[in-house]
């Protein structure tokens, strides 16, 4: 399984050199005091893919995400984002790098003293020299992109529901048109309908804007519905693959996770959705069947 992710840049069939992986983590070790969270962990995300990160409580899913975006310093190992080693960037380059990723924290992490629109304008104000008018227009566009109503613009985070706060947080994460979007438990705390809608939104945005997505989640429905590949954190390392590939592994936790009652229900609903998707296939549609097929072919090769 790991061999699949261990690929050096190589020529693609159409003759172009492949871009570097969006995220490449090698030999990562994180620890808090004597407690080791990750040890010799390798993790790779390709440009344009939607990567789900799962694992039991305390296996360090959020820690991995926070380490990649530089909020936690690793004890050892190398992290490269978009081909640049984040550990060796100068402060100015760190700022440049921060423009190229967006982060959605669990409850949106909106600044409570600012309205939604002002929240979205914060990164624009900080990183660009756009006119206030243009900033407002961009903020309006992002509010529209994440499906918030226009009157949400002038509301304060406290006046929004949980789902709307997440959407507003997503709008802020998208403010600078990042290339990589990190989502920390994007559907936690949402009702199933809201969670489904949010999944759909995330998938649509990632296609329309060409985003690479890394999402930490416990939501099996999200994993089945939108993730291309899944990383499972086990024993301080990750195991990567599609759900089908992962289910072939003998690991007890993975078996419990995907084959437990919730896993089966999510898988069934994923298949239903897949058939539904095929019926309406067209245009932007990436049907799950294609994804799985291509995955299968690759394994044969």
């Amino acid at each position: 399984m790991n061999a699949a992710t261990d690929t050096a840049p190589e020529a693609t069939p159409d003759g172009l050199t492949a871009p570097p992986p969006a995220i490449e983590v090698r030999g990562l070790r994180t620890q808090f005091g004597p407690q080791v969270i990750h040890d010799d962990l390798d993790f790779q995300v390709e440009p344009g893919e939607i990567m789900g990160v799962v694992g039991g409580s305390g296996t360090g899913k959020s820690v991995l995400l926070r380490t990649i975006i530089g909020l936690i310093k690793p004890a050892a190992g190398r992290i490269a984002v978009l081909g640049q080693d984040t550990g060796r960037l100068r402060p100015a380059d760190v700022r440049a790098m921060q423009r190229r990723w967006g982060v959605l924290f669990q409850d949106g992490a909106l600044f409570s003293s600012l309205t939604v629109e002002q929240n979205i304008e914060v990164p624009l104000r900080e990183h660009t020299r756009l006119r206030p008018q243009m900033r407002r227009q961009i903020a309006g566009l992002k509010i529209g992109l994440v499906g918030l109503p226009p009157d949400a613009a002038n509301k304060y985070p406290a006046e929004l529901s949980g789902g709307m706060r997440k959407r507003a947080g997503l709008a802020r994460a998208l403010a600078l048109d990042p290339e990589i979007l990190f989502l920390d438990e994007p559907t936690a705390g949402l009702d199933p309908i809201g969670a489904n809608k949010f999944d759909g939104l995330v998938q649509e945005l990632s296609r329309a804007l060409g985003l690479t997505l890394v999402m930490v989640t416990h939501d099996l429905d999200s994993l089945h519905a939108i993730c291309d590949r899944i990383s499972v954190l086990i024993d301080k390392r990750v195991k990567v693959g599609t759900i089908d590939e992962l289910m072939q592994l003998p690991d007890a936790w993975i078996q419990d996770y995907f084959r437990g009652p919730r896993g089966r229900a999510a898988s069934a609903s994923g298949e239903r959705r897949l058939r539904h998707g095929e019926a309406h296939a067209g245009g932007l549609g990436v049907s799950k069947a294609d994804t799985l097929n291509v995955g299968g072919e690759r394994e044969d090769a």
Partner: protein
């Protein structure tokens, strides 16, 4: 390596829409190539040629140029995207906005050139663009002032009313518990006494001692002019016993324990612990408020007595050092010059202040709403209100004592 898990055309589309290699090069070199715009007129047709990267980071100048665009009598317009390199929603927004503005002036606008993904992005922007309502205009200073005055007046009255209500409730619970002492939670009571009393001793003692020193020094300085240095003892004695010890102790306790009460109860409120208590059949007034109020009522007089002693000690040390009044002389003059009532006047106030501080602290704790922010706000409010009320009560006591002639 391309991601094999996605169909090829979508993968390439995503990559082509934003040549990342170019973007990362410009980041690495620290220079930022700007978006370029050429405009020319083919007969009746206004042609806008977009070139270079049009992204959030680069479009600032072209935003201004495009916004002030005048068609100069052109009947139609063509926006040529052929020269575009990087393109993101900000660039797409500008194309979309310009199209909209030109169309509003009656021009026929068409897009030419550009990749499928560029057009896709423009289409995404077109279908999601919102005209958000402008932020509500700021009102005039006078209106705002009037509104705030009215609001805070109402707020103060409302607060006073519900504090009085809470105070009454506390008294009822207090009396009920004192009639049936079995219901008092002794462990909690002793715990609170330790936290609010014993642990406050170092700071109360130090402050009182220093105030004794200051009073003695300032008094001596002035009284020396009349040759009445010995009356420094009277000044220190009356000052410390009647006012200083009790006031300072009350203020320190309000800041230390009143705020702690609010924070403790407030955090429990945020955690829904209070609601949990109610559902189990525990009365938060009995479990939380009563031990705190009783503890403070018992502890504050003790702290005040301790502060009295420390204050007098400070005065005596200073008198000895600066005025050569020996401890023996100090004690004699103290005995003659300071009526014993001074001591009682100070001590009588202690339980009353304690009650007010504890009630305000607990009351504000219960007023915390379900947000971490309000814990901080309410804690501040508790300290300010408690100190304010303590000083108001002290003034009332002074009036009462002067009427009684004590």
């Amino acid at each position: 390596m391309p991601n094999p898990f996605k169909p090829a055309e979508v993968r390439h589309g995503a990559r082509d829409s934003r040549p990342r290699g170019a973007a990362s090069r410009s980041v690495a070199s620290g220079t930022r190539a700007g978006a370029r715009l050429a405009r020319r007129q083919d007969a009746d047709c206004l042609v806008l040629e977009l070139a270079g990267p049009w992204t959030t980071m680069t479009v600032a100048a072209q935003d201004v140029a495009l916004d002030g665009l005048v068609p100069n009598g052109a009947r139609s317009a063509r926006i040529d995207l052929a020269g575009l390199e990087a393109f993101d929603t900000a660039g797409a927004l500008l194309v979309h906005r310009t199209t909209k503005q030109l169309a509003a002036r009656g021009l026929e606008v068409e897009l030419s050139g550009g990749l499928e993904t560029h057009r896709g992005l423009i289409e995404t922007v077109r279908s999601h663009d919102l005209d958000c309502p402008p932020p509500p205009p700021a009102r005039s200073a006078l209106t705002t002032l009037m509104e705030r005055t009215g609001r805070s007046t109402y707020f103060v009255l409302d607060e006073a009313l519900s504090l009085t209500n809470f105070l009454g409730h506390t008294v009822v619970v207090l009396v009920r518990s004192l009639l049936r002492p079995g219901r008092i939670r002794w462990t909690a009571l002793i715990n609170q006494m330790e936290r609010t009393g014993l642990n406050a001793m170092p700071i109360v003692g130090l402050i009182s001692f220093l105030i004794g020193v200051v009073l003695a020094y300032q008094g001596a300085d002035q009284l020396k002019k009349f040759g009445a240095e010995i009356f420094t003892v009277n000044l220190v004695g009356v000052g410390v016993l009647r006012e200083m010890a009790i006031m300072l102790t009350a203020i320190v306790v309000a800041g230390r324990s009143g705020s702690a009460f609010t924070a403790q109860i407030g955090t429990m409120k945020v955690n829904e612990e209070i609601d949990a208590m109610r559902t189990i059949g525990l009365d938060p007034m009995e479990v939380l408020v009563l031990p705190r109020v009783l503890a403070l009522i018992l502890v504050l007089p003790l702290l005040t007595f301790y502060a009295d002693i420390m204050g007098l000690l400070g005065g005596a040390v200073m008198a000895n050092w600066a005025l050569d009044i020996s401890f023996f002389q100090f004690a004699r003059q103290f005995n003659v010059g300071v009526p014993v009532w001074s001591f009682w006047v100070g001590l009588i106030k202690a339980p009353v202040f304690a009650f007010i501080i504890a009630v305000v602290g607990c009351y504000e704790g219960f007023k915390v709403s379900i947000s971490a922010e309000s814990v901080g706000q309410r804690t501040t409010a508790a300290v300010v209100e408690a100190i304010f009320l303590v000083i108001v009560l002290d003034a009332l006591f002074s009036i009462i004592f002067s009427i009684l002639g004590i």
